[in-house]
């Protein structure tokens, strides 16, 4: 799945969240989005899945402009993107099974939707079980989500995105709420899955080492602008530190 931003800006009532950003991400690329809180990482991911509408500029997915799509086309496009938000976006009162099943809602008609929610078919359950196995929590299939720990919920969110059979995976700070060793495992898992299934991967995070090691390309954001966009081998630690410390020096 290809993504392209062309002079995209996002203006919220009190802040310019993204300022004239142009970039393109080729199919199968693995990109880490880095930058301090408030730099616009979440907004940028939002532009790509259409959760945020650009105030100016265009967003293209597979060479088609998101803002010109019919609802039907947009839903089809969205179905092909797995999205793991920072808040996980799970339904706490539902079971893991139902939450993961909801990932494929874009392919279901009315009957299929009700069935997935009430009593998914044996094939669906088996497939969900396999997906959960891949992220390492298959034993939680019938647990209610609100009984799981933060780390487990995060893996449910990843499983839901995978169950979509997406062509791209967008994850917003997937490791902000887990300890360092778990963080490594989680991002590693996303990276492995992306390579295994040839997904375009976009992950926002703060960890220089991890970003450099697991992602061939880094995009540094600061105050809504692209600060650097280069192969990770060319991003030095000082460039990375600059990204986070500019605030102090500029003021």
């Amino acid at each position: 799945m290809r993504f392209e931003l062309e002079h995209a800006s996002v203006r919220y009532p009190r802040i310019l969240a993204l300022d004239n950003v142009s970039l393109s991400i080729a199919s199968g690329e693995r990109v880490a989005l880095v930058g301090p809180s408030g730099a616009g990482k979440t907004t940028l991911l939002g532009l790509l899945h259409g959760g945020v509408r650009p105030s100016a500029g265009t967003v293209r997915v597979d060479d088609r402009v998101l803002g010109e799509m019919s609802m039907k086309d947009l839903r089809a496009t969205r179905l092909a993107m797995g999205f793991v938000p920072q808040s996980f976006g799970l339904v706490p009162e539902s079971r893991v099974l139902q939450n993961v099943a909801a990932g494929r809602v874009g392919t279901r008609n009315w009957f299929g939707t009700l069935r997935d929610f009430l009593a998914p078919s044996r094939d669906t359950v088996r497939e969900i079980h396999e997906t959960l196995e891949r992220v390492g929590i298959s034993e939680k299939l019938y647990e209610r989500v609100d009984t799981l720990s933060g780390g487990q919920q995060q893996r449910v969110a990843v499983a839901r995105a995978l169950f979509q059979k997406p062509r791209s995976l967008l994850a917003d700070e997937p490791i902000s709420s887990v300890d360092p060793s778990r963080a490594r495992a989680t991002v590693g898992l996303l990276s492995d899955l992306a390579q295994e299934r040839e997904l375009t991967l976009l992950v926002s995070l703060h960890q220089y080492e991890l970003a450099r090691e697991l992602f061939p390309r880094l995009i540094g954001l600061r105050e809504g602008r692209v600060h650097f966009d280069s192969p990770s081998s060319k991003v030095s630690e000082s460039m990375f530190r600059d990204l986070y410390e500019l605030d102090v020096t500029s003021s």
């Binding site: 259409g50 086309d73 938000p85």
Partner: protein, 282 residues
């Protein structure tokens, strides 16, 4: 300022309303009260020494098959009415919730919605809310009068009266629950390609169900109370027996029926409290 006007309102109400404390203790009132207190003593025991056997026989005759039937009718009426109300409310509340019924539920659509679409969606929500407001602003008692005029005396006018009024209340409350649902799950499903109905099934329904049921039980309680009262309009429920006993100056029986009504409401309170505690914890 507002405290002063509030105080003035209180003074005015007491002065203008013409209720004087001395009226409470006039000779006439005192006589009536004394008579009433004498006559609520079971008839066979009036001017007699108290005797439990006689009392028990009188009690079972009074409650008898008729009153227990009325008790059952009151209960059945309230259940039927609240279920009808909840079903209607569930359907209608979806159109009264600004988030779900808005032009772009939880996440932008591709093309920005046209001005016409915005106006239509706002109109839909507004009209739905107006209908709910209308349904609940007319009291059950008045609805029952209207339905009796159309359908004649029977169970249906009372069921419909309770159902319509409560659908108005539950519809509003249900839609507020929908509007207060934590949006992140709905938003995530929306950007994964879910339609409105699918959002409802997968995200809104499980996140709202508990609170909907809380309101459901709360209104059921009220329905029992109201079903008793509406019997005064001629339908055979406890209220009818109360009315009948009063008309026949059988205050002793009247007190028993009032007591039965209170017990029924107390039981409903208990069931509802248990159910609600369970729902809160689950």
């Amino acid at each position: 300022m507002s405290a002063v006007s509030l105080a003035l309102l209180v003074v005015w109400a007491w002065a203008y309303g013409g209720f004087r404390f001395t009226d409470l203790f006039q000779n006439q009132s005192r006589e009536n009260a004394t008579r009433f207190l004498r006559e609520i003593r079971p008839f066979p025991l009036q001017d007699q020494p108290w005797d439990w056997t006689t009392w028990f026989r009188w009690m079972s005759e009074t409650i008898g098959p008729n009153a227990s039937e009325a008790l059952g009718a009151t209960l059945a009426l309230s259940v039927a009415a609240v279920i009808l109300a909840a079903m209607a409310a569930l359907v209608v509340s979806v159109f009264a919730a600004r988030n779900l019924a808005g032009p772009e539920p939880f996440a932008p659509s591709g093309k920005p919605p046209s001005q016409i679409a915005r106006v239509l969606h706002r109109g839909l929500v507004g009209v739905t809310r107006l209908i709910l407001l209308f349904a609940r602003s007319i009291p059950e008692y008045v609805w029952a009068f209207l339905f009796i005029t159309m359908l004649g005396v029977g169970a249906w006018p009372v069921v419909l009266a309770l159902a319509v009024h409560n659908a108005g209340i539950l519809g509003r409350l249900f839609s507020e629950v929908i509007e207060n649902v934590e949006p992140s799950a709905s938003r995530t499903l929306r950007v994964s390609g879910a339609g409105r109905g699918q959002l409802f099934v997968h995200a809104i329904l499980p996140q709202s169900l508990n609170r909907w049921l809380l309101y459901f039980f709360y209104r059921w309680e009220t329905c029992i109370r109201e079903a008793t009262v509406l019997g005064l309009l001629g339908f055979i429920s406890l209220g009818w027996y109360i009315q009948d006993a009063r008309a026949g100056v059988r205050y002793d029986e009247m007190v028993v029926y009032v007591g039965l009504g209170a017990i029924l409401i107390l039981l409903a309170d208990l069931v509802s409290a248990v159910a609600r505690r369970y729902l809160r914890s689950g």
